[in-house]
Symmetry: D2
Subunit: 337 residues, 4 copies
């Protein structure tokens, strides 16, 4: 950590900063430049990053040198992690496709979609039983009933289930059914929920918050991992920007960037990332070209009747077409589907 002092910091102020650093058990190194004096701090920066050194008189700024996460960092597992979800391995050469409706709406419809996405080659089935909705007047999901339909769909198709957990009180219930627990974007910094899933050994798909930096996403993963659950998959799903012609701005540069910074696999959700069904397929292809380990896509047989996010759902036949293109792009970048 580097501490930059104000131009006219007094000797008294400097001494006070040095004392502070030493009182925390660290060694300061003073370096006097022409315009500024700087102090280097040697020691485990993650501990000292917690100290409010910026509040000390005479301090202009504090520059961290190390990343604040450890378990989620690339250095922790340089060759990259593979997360297994009931037999489906995420993070290897093979690109994984998660598909299904936004929300579980009825038993029949879910079974129908599950069969269709299975036939088109999907590896995991998504479907929300508990739905976080912006308005209290929107459909909030079928709850436990929805989970039972998901299980039935899994039994019929063999596809493991991805579904969202929203409340610590429902952890046991959701953990009973889900093969991969989704933590939604709005809950990326619901730290109690992160700790809860960190206390189990089920794989977790952590979606990036809509205003979260990559650093914050990795710190959220660190919350889960620091509780002992290392089975974490990250999901880029678009960030909030000033552009209003798409629902979010899908940040595909997050893929190669996360690959540099972290060992965790990355999947991309172009459905939420764009909010428009006709942008989903091009962005799914782009995600794979950029190195994503998987894509998650919403599929609905009648988007105009969907109870949630209809405008961004693909029809099953468009999904099947997308799968063909996805295979070609995956192969072009040395992967398979």
């Amino acid at each position: 950590m580097i501490i930059v002092l104000k131009p006219h910091a007094t000797q008294e102020e400097i001494d006070h900063v040095l004392e502070k650093i030493e009182s925390f058990g660290f060694t300061p190194h003073v370096s006097r430049g022409v315009e500024r004096t700087i102090i280097g701090v040697i020691g485990d920066e993650r501990i000292i990053q917690e100290k409010p050194l910026e509040a000390l008189p005479g301090v202009e700024q504090v520059l961290p040198v190390l990343k604040p996460y450890k378990l989620a960092s690339r250095e922790f597992n340089p060759q990259g992690s593979v997360i297994e979800v009931s037999g489906v391995r995420v993070g290897e050469r093979k690109v994984v496709v998660i598909a299904g409706p936004c929300a579980v709406e009825s038993r029949e419809r879910l079974l129908q979609v599950a069969k269709e996405v299975k036939a088109a080659g999907a590896h995991l089935l998504r479907g929300g039983a508990f739905k976080p909705r912006t308005s209290p007047y929107s459909f909030q999901g079928l709850g436990a009933e929805g989970l039972r339909y998901l299980l039935e769909a899994k039994q019929e198709t063999g596809l493991p289930i991805v579904t969202e957990l929203m409340d610590t009180r429902e952890a046991d219930l959701v953990l009973e059914y889900a093969d991969l627990i989704q933590i939604g974007a709005r809950n990326m910094q619901n730290f109690r929920l992160l700790k809860e899933v960190g206390g189990h050994r089920k794989p977790v798909m952590l979606k990036r918050g809509m205003s979260a930096t990559i650093k914050e996403l990795l710190l959220a993963a660190e919350y889960i991992m620091s509780e002992g659950n290392y089975h974490v998959i990250l999901c880029e799903r678009g960030i909030r920007t000033f552009e209003d012609s798409t629902r979010n701005t899908l940040d595909l540069s997050a893929i190669p960037l996360i690959k540099q910074l972290s060992h965790l696999p990355v999947v991309v959700d172009p459905s939420h990332g764009t909010g428009k069904w006709d942008l989903v397929s091009p962005m799914a292809l782009a995600a794979v070209a950029a190195g994503a380990d998987g894509v998650m896509v919403e599929v609905h047989p009648r988007p105009e009747e969907a109870l949630s996010d209809g405008p961004q759902a693909l029809l099953p036949d468009l999904f099947a077409k997308m799968m063909e293109s996805l295979r070609r792009v995956a192969e072009a970048v040395g992967r398979s589907l």
Copy 2:
């Protein structure tokens, strides 16, 4: 609601849209312009806003006419609401000041700060017992012990307590101690938590999420109110933008805007809004000048030793000075402190 059709929408597509609208129990009105055909929909828009009409073939865009919130809207209570917090009334002529440390760190320190902010004229005492922290390695709060210290500080000073609730499982505990329950920015769309506090009758201070629009903030308030708890105070605490020289960008235009759109009182948190103690006082003055019903400020006797957010805390004597200026500005805009 207005539905704009694509330039070359076929008659079949138009008929399909009309049928859909009628099947929902609404009446469509078709209007053919030179370049576009539009369909007006008559009926309770909040119901039909749920329908994914954008997913219908031939539809270019869907324009809502009504606001999606009702109980939080100005029209629901045109003269404005006053929320009472254990005797302190928020939303009247008198501007309310909430002050205290970011986190409760020890019994002694809390009691000291409580007495100092009381002496300077604060009306409510803030202090976090449960702390949402970006890193799992940061101080997470004293929990139940912190709540007991807050109660003691209340008994000594008479200041009602504002403290944060982070987890539905802790609702009973926090409700026992808090006079005003804070829902933090990161939990503004933790819908289960919103419903939980909506089920009680304790006043709630709902902080704006760092990437939440005003519309979304009002919808989050609607979640609480639709469960029956109308005692909601809104808090502007800065939004996330590209500017990185402040922690957040404090959006003071939210104050007069919320006053137009909603009947709920608005307080401003310039400590989180700026992240820098030397910007807190000017922004608190600005907030009151812009019409805020209150301000919430972090005060710490030794910011350099704070376990959370030291760089943004005011020293007690600076807080006392700020209170004097605040009084003058409040009077300049026809209010009092």
Copy 3:
């Protein structure tokens, strides 16, 4: 255009709005709903969009129905435009690659890079003679001398030249040398510069401003086209967001979106879009997978000595490798390189 009235708009206010509309030569249609009265306006909306109807008493909001651009819209040329740059056709099946140094730094270095990118398969040579730099103390480009080196490089390699115009006073000079005139992101709304290049018939590559919406980008193109120059290529180069681990956030969803809204070709600049050389190649591949008509990439033989933007430049051999991958991805999505 739809005008939504306030809930308690008086009859007098409504009549005043109707009169206004008629005074502009348009026909209003009143529709009274349960909660709001709305007025539809029939006529050429682009004219009436100029009128400040939102300022009329009793008006709550004005909802435009039509896009504000015409010449740049997809409807103007549904099959899509192909822009020819001295023999290189942009907007066809073949993906076009623009490569070269950020700035022209010396004759020798430019000639070297030009030959290397030519050998690797680039179609156009980029290089800045006039450089827009954030700091006045940064290298500002070689000016006219740089243009002469570009011409020499073109004569040696046969690659047409892409270079930036920054000042209306230099239009004649730059137009003499450039095959494709670049309007930089910072000048996307330098309307005089847009009109200036609109008055010539040289092709123009218009880069999206760092905080410009797609709508504003298309309106900037409309500025050029409305002066008579239809030879416009759009360039996505990243937008400014809160994420600070990349220089900008490259918005690849802009590609399929622009393809829907406009007939103009789209190229992508992953060098400025990411600011990091090791993200350039994955994002170039992603751009082509998403449907881009071309990519523009910075190449420098010794990035550590570059006078501008060294950290985002590819070494020539990495560029050559990228070209191979690009070819495979292009073919996977039915195109060629």
Copy 4:
């Protein structure tokens, strides 16, 4: 400047970095920590900031220690600058009010507004003769004719004139009429225009770009000042964020922040900052409470007929009322109007 090396940087890479630094005439200081080696660079950082050291193999990040601007920095003139605009002093105790129509539309209307704002106490008259408009089909200003009307209004009222310069080719013309030259937000990084006005001695009001950081604003001021023109006033006018219920997000924390970082005066434009006339007055009061040296407000006698930005213009009587409140708030914070 601090250079942080990658965890596994080789000795060869480290040596290469050291050589580079020395070849630029600077002295490196190596410091080996547990997890990272860092190199401190002693010397004038503004020169070395230009060097692309991030492109060197083995380098993880480069941390600047000094601000990149000098003439605009607070240290250059610690007591703060006062800029005189034809007798009106900006930057002293007295808060300055600039008022007038967005665009000059006709001689009569301009004279009328000029007299009204003068009567209400304004100190400077604003009015655009050259207008930057997002759409080419919008009113573009009266040009030279507008400048003549402004001169006439100045002669009648005694109010000095603030008007915008958009094109280097019109500098002579605008300089002849303007007392204070406005550089608009869209041209904040039109570096040629900055240099042009830097070459004269007329005061310049530089508006913050809609996606410009404070650092970039100060670097844009540095462009003007480095050409010799030190008469620069900065203007906060709102930045672009995700919030769409206001035209921009007015960043009032920029006021105290700029006061810390720079000696230049700051005025605030709440009309563009909010885009809504009913938010203008509260935000003007807030700006003065936060320490602004002036406010600039759009006033129009018939906003519904304005040719530009009608929805954000105040009626003359509302402006007069705002002036009364402004006076009270100015006095509350130790200033006058």
